[in-house]
Each structure stands twice: as C-alpha cells, then as structure tokens.
Amino acid sequence: MSATISILDGNTFVVSDTRGDIEATPTDTAGLFSFDTRFLSKWVLTVNGQRLSTLSIDDLHYFETRFFLVPGTGTIYIDARLSVIRDRTIDGGFHEVLTILNHDDHPVKLDVRIDAEADFADLFEVKDELSKKGKTYTRLGNGGLALGYQRETFKRETHVSSSEQAAFDENGLSFTITIAAHGKWSTTLLVGLTALAADGSPVLELRDHRTHEELRDDLHDWIDNAPHLDCDWPPLKTTYRRSLIDMAALRFSPLTAEGRTLPAAGLPWFMTMFGRDSIITSLQSLPILPGLAETTLRELGARQGTRLDDFRDEDPGRIMHEMRYGEMTAFEERPHSPYYGTADATPLFVVLLDEYERWTGDAELVRDLEFEARAAIAWIDDYADLQGNGYLWYRRRNEQTGLENQCWKDSWDSISYRDGRLPGFPRATCELQGYAYDAKMRAARLARAYWRDPKYADMLEKQATQLKRRFNRDFWISERGYYALALDEDGGQVDALASNTGHLLWSGIVETSKARSVVRHLMSPQMFSGWGIRTLSTDEKRYNPIGYHVGTVWPFDNSLIAWGLRKYGFKKEAARVAAGILDAADFFEGRLPEAFGGYERALTRYPVQYPTACSPQAWSTGAPLLFLRTMLGLAPHGDHLIVDPAVPGGVGHLELLNIPGRWGRVDAFARSAGDKDAKQHLRPQLSSLRDRKGVPG
C-alpha cells in the first residue's frame, strides 16, 4: 500500500488507505488494531458496486480523519454528481460518520455497502508471518454483526452496528437508499471491540472511552498548559508545536493508570509501555510536560521484577523492557507479559526519579517509590554484575525470543571493535556504567533528603566513586583519548569510537581531565556530520551512513549528549549539536525521524531520513524539548530554576514562558549578546554556510 493514513487513541489505531478502506493481507499492516490485535482486516466501502476515489483528506487530529470521496476509480472521468464523506474517529474502536451528498437535480437510488472482516492477527504474527491457531466466527443479531475469534479461553470480538437501518450479513452490511435531489443521507457506523473469556464475560471492566469532544478538549488543554515558546527562529516554533502535538498522540494510558498517561515508544506499532523509551522520553520532557514522568515511574514501578524467570529475562528489581497484550503473549509464546530484557531501564528509572523530584518537588512519589528505587540499585549489584567485577553486564537467558543486545543500540552489529569484529557475551557497554554511576549518586541524594538513611547514602556514594575510578581505568583507551564502547567477556576493550561515549558526559562518570578529549572526538569530522553526532565514527570498519546503529544520527542520542556537554561546561558545542539537529527538523516539518543518514551535511545539504515504520517516535519527539533545556541552560536548584542560556549562532532571542515546576511557573529568556548582524537571523541557511566554511561552533 503506497499511502497510508493512521489515526489513534492510546493503543487503538487504524491504518487505512487514502480512501479510508482497509484491505489487509496476513502480512500487510493495514487494519484496526487494539491491544496488539487486529480487530478489522477488511473495511471496504462501495457505492453501487463501485469503489471510490479520493478527492482530499483532512487529518483533523491524531484521533480523527475525514475522507472526501467520489464514486468510481477512473482517472479520467469522475462522476461528480455524488460526494461521499467518511469522518472517522477513534473511541475504543472507531465510529465513522458516512455521508453521501446528491448534487443532481433528480433523486438518486443507491446501494451502499461495507464489506467487513477480521482476522484477529497478533502484531507479532503480522511481523513474523505466522498463522492463526484458533477459529474465527461471525454472528448476526442485536441489530448488528459480530466478528469473533476463539482459541481455548482466548476470545476477541468486533461488533459492527449502524445508526440507520442496515441489512447485515456475514460479510458486512448494506443500505438501499434514495437521496432526494440536492439531498443528503448519513449514518454513523460503530465498530466496538471486546476481550472476552470463553463464557462470553469480559476479561476486564474497562473504563469508558473518551468521546470525540473529550479528546478534542484534552488536546487543547495539553497544548495550553505547556510552556509558550517565542523566538526569531521560526522553524523552532514549528518544531516545538509539532513535538507537543505528537507527544499528545504518543500518550498511552496503561489499564492500571486510571487515565493518567505515559509516553509510548512510537506510533503506531510501539504504542505500549517500554522501560527505556518511556523513561528517556519522560526525562526529555520534564521541563515542558512533567506529568509524563510521574506516570512512567508509577507504572514501571508497579511492574518491577520480583522473581527469576528466564523466559522473560526477569530478575528481582529489574525494570521491564516491553509490555504486549496480543494472543502470542497471552499463550506464553512470546515473553512480553512483560518482558524484562533491557540493561539500562533499571538504572535510568532511578535517574528519572531523582530528576523528576528536582523539577517538581514531588516528595510523595519519592517516598512511595523508595522500595522500588532501592530494589533497582540492588539489581545493579546483585543481578547485573554477571562477571563479578563491579560492572553492569547483559546476556539474555531467553535465547529464542529474548533480545541479544539489551542496550539502546539493540541491532545485531551495533557493538563492534574498530576492525569490525563483534564481541561475545556478556557485554558491558560503557553508557550502562555511566547510568549505574548516576543512579547511585542520585539515589544517595534521595536517601539523605527523603529516606532518612544517610548510611545508605554514604555507601552508595562510596560505591559510585569506586565505580568511576575503576571505569576510568578500565574503559579509557589512553592512546586514542576516548572511552571504549564496551568491555568484552574477557574484560578486553571493545575499542570502536561510538556515540555511547557522549552519554558518559551526561552521567557525570567522565573525569574532568578527560572531558576535553572526549568532546574533541565527539565534535570531530569523524563523529559530527554537521547535522549531529553519528552513532559510530566514520573511521570504524562497520561505519555505514545508513546503518541503523553504525553511522546514522539519532536525534534522541544527540539530545542526551548535548545535555552532557552542558554539564561539563561545553556550552558552544552543546548549542552546535542542538542547532544541527533542529536545523534538520525543519526538513521534516518539525517532526524529527528516529534517525537520519550519517552523510556529511555539506555533501547532501539535507538530512536523509532512515526508513522506519514508526513516526512519530517518542524520543525523537522529546529531543527538541530537551534541546530547549540545554540551549536555555535550565537547571533546577532548590526551589529556583537557573537559566544560563547559550543559543546557537543566528538566533537572536529565545524565550520559554510558563515553565512549570516546584517554583510555580517561571519564564526563561535568552538573547544573543554580540551578534547584531541581521543575516545572523537566518537559521538554518546560515548554519549550513558556517559549517561549510568549517567555522567552529
């Protein structure tokens, strides 16, 4: 399918063609999905037996689309005496207001038909081309059509009904209607979804779905409550607004969260809770949308591992990686109930808890999650130190369906030596050690301030100090002047230069004397493309400008690195990274992709998008929010917000108003001091000129 339209609310979404029709094959991704199950695989509208053609599409909101259609599919002649409008809104399932206008001077008689079918494929089955083990059925009655599927106790049903009288059969519904001259006919089609037990009773008592009006009001409130951005860099304003709207769409409310939301990982295929993605997106969003972090912390805490389970790679204290709700998870054919195979979510959980408190002053949450934070710290020492040498390692125990690489670079070839060889397992990637260090330092602060346990705080700081010393000895490649990407199973250095080394600045594990050398590498032509810092240096054997984790530029990666640069005082470099990525955003109408090619900026002049199935991606959506923080130099200090701006060249003024936090609401302003040259107000064109001339920062 060449063009697709998606709308969604939570993890319910529709992927259709531009006519609004759904025609899925077992491996095609069209359909109405909810809780990782395809509840409609066919939904095709015909008028007098003819398919329709699209005149235009209004993407009204992320949860609502309107299709303007005419009967017939001919490219030369289109019968314009009839207009057909499909207005579709997600509300648990969806409702579709189907309207037909007769533009003729005579009445018209029409056969209107919707063909409906459901294959109840699990998302994993669509991905892996697997076939169903249960049986589908249809049932007519109660003024509608039920499409169902059952496998043992697992039962899912789709209910189709109509506000206007319709003739239902097992394959859909039909209307025989007459529309007066210049008249109009309309019906509302309802598609409802249920998860049932074998006896037909619902598995859960679900709360009511939000109405169309509630969804609209909620989106307006969301944007109104966010800080207001003003600047003389118009693309940044576009990007900011895009991020706010996309973040609204990316919100996911777990069934236990009573309507509170956290960021899912990506739309539409990753609309579920993820440890790493939900935490990092919450971190990025703290200055703008602090509520996301609270739900993330509570919901991940409520699912923290409590036992050893090899199938799910679960350990006590471990924070989950991914939750799924489909049939394969239900029958334990996939481990996602939830799956725990991630090595970074656990320390990052503690990092987020501390950072969240610094912004919001929410002491209650810090007290509520004391046990979870301590269990997370204990996991680092008791379960993640696979080699018993004080580092955080990973190696999956589920060798069939578990994840091999349990760091954010989770593709098979992401962790390599300079000569291209891949290390064995377990692996201890460098950024994990930084996260562990940061988690302990931050937990120590919380222990002292809130948990009344100064002894525990002392112990954590001592451990963190020792880890930092050990890390700077074992990971530092002195002849090259940067940190090894990882240690291999023999304790040897995996010596490729990768962006992971930039995360270390953010975590604070870099010794001050080594920082300048690290920064020089990050900003070198081998790493910095002009748009951003590459995942892998161009000098490495596995470098590929369009290799997923071996040469592309990831906006979220850069946002964390820029934060780290600021922490170590490299303001100009941080601004330069922010400028590169935000310039790139302008080429995507403000919506940063997951990754783009590592090509030299001067070479391509525009960023080459890496093809991925999900857009928007949560941590790319969060990246501009974090860049705003780093450019303005926002840092909570007690009950005050420190503002210490360092904006990119070409930006005259930048202000963020109504920043929420423990201080109430405050404004942050930045004005460039020296540059009075009018041409300076011309990002991004200016920045590309500057970069071509090789003018630093």
């Binding site: 074998a198 598995v203 859960l204 409590t306 090899d310 334990e332 379960y383």
Partner: protein
Amino acid sequence: MSQVAEAFLTGLSERGDDPSLRKITGTIRIDLRNNGKVDHWHLTFDGGKVSVKQSNNAAKGSRADCHMITDSELFERMAGGRANAMAALLRGAVLVRGDLDKLVAFQRLFPGPPSKRGSRQ
C-alpha cells in the same frame, strides 16, 4: 483445593516484612473453580500485614476491591511458578472485576519458574 495453592495463600500472612506486600492496600477476593465447586478466599492487605480467610460459600457475596476468578488447577500452576498470571489474564483464563492494579501487584507475589537459571552463570 491443592496443597500448593493453599500453602501459597495461607503463607501470605506468614511472610514477615515483605515490601511487596506493603505495596497492596485493600481487599482481594479469589474464587477458585474446581469441578463445579468454588473455593472462596478473602485477602485483606494493610501496611504489609495480610489476613487470609477461606470459605466454601459464606464469602460468596462478600465484596472486595479486586475480585479474581480462575480455575483451581491454573491457580496452582501460578502459585508454583509454572504459569504467568498476566498472560492468563490476557487469554481469559483469569477474570478480574474491580481494581486491576491490585491484581498486577498481587501476581508479583507468585514465585518464578522452578527451572530458572538466573543471571549469573
């Protein structure tokens, strides 16, 4: 009623200071179906203390914040670490009425699979 399930449930009140218990406040009713008969268990969680009551019919109408309904045989496997409660919920083998978050917290008390290897090797 199997011994494993019974030992698990009665053992809840003897766990001592288990932080996982402190995470639950309120009542959970568990109905275990077995050949047409139903065993009712009523659990009250309060600040880490658990009181456990069993009855064959008296508690039938008793209210709880969270009401879990499943087969004895499946509950025994969950209590022995051989079945996962969240997966069972998704496939309709466990039904929940009332607060789902209490069930999510409760199922964390089940042990892991008996054959686990653990991380360190």
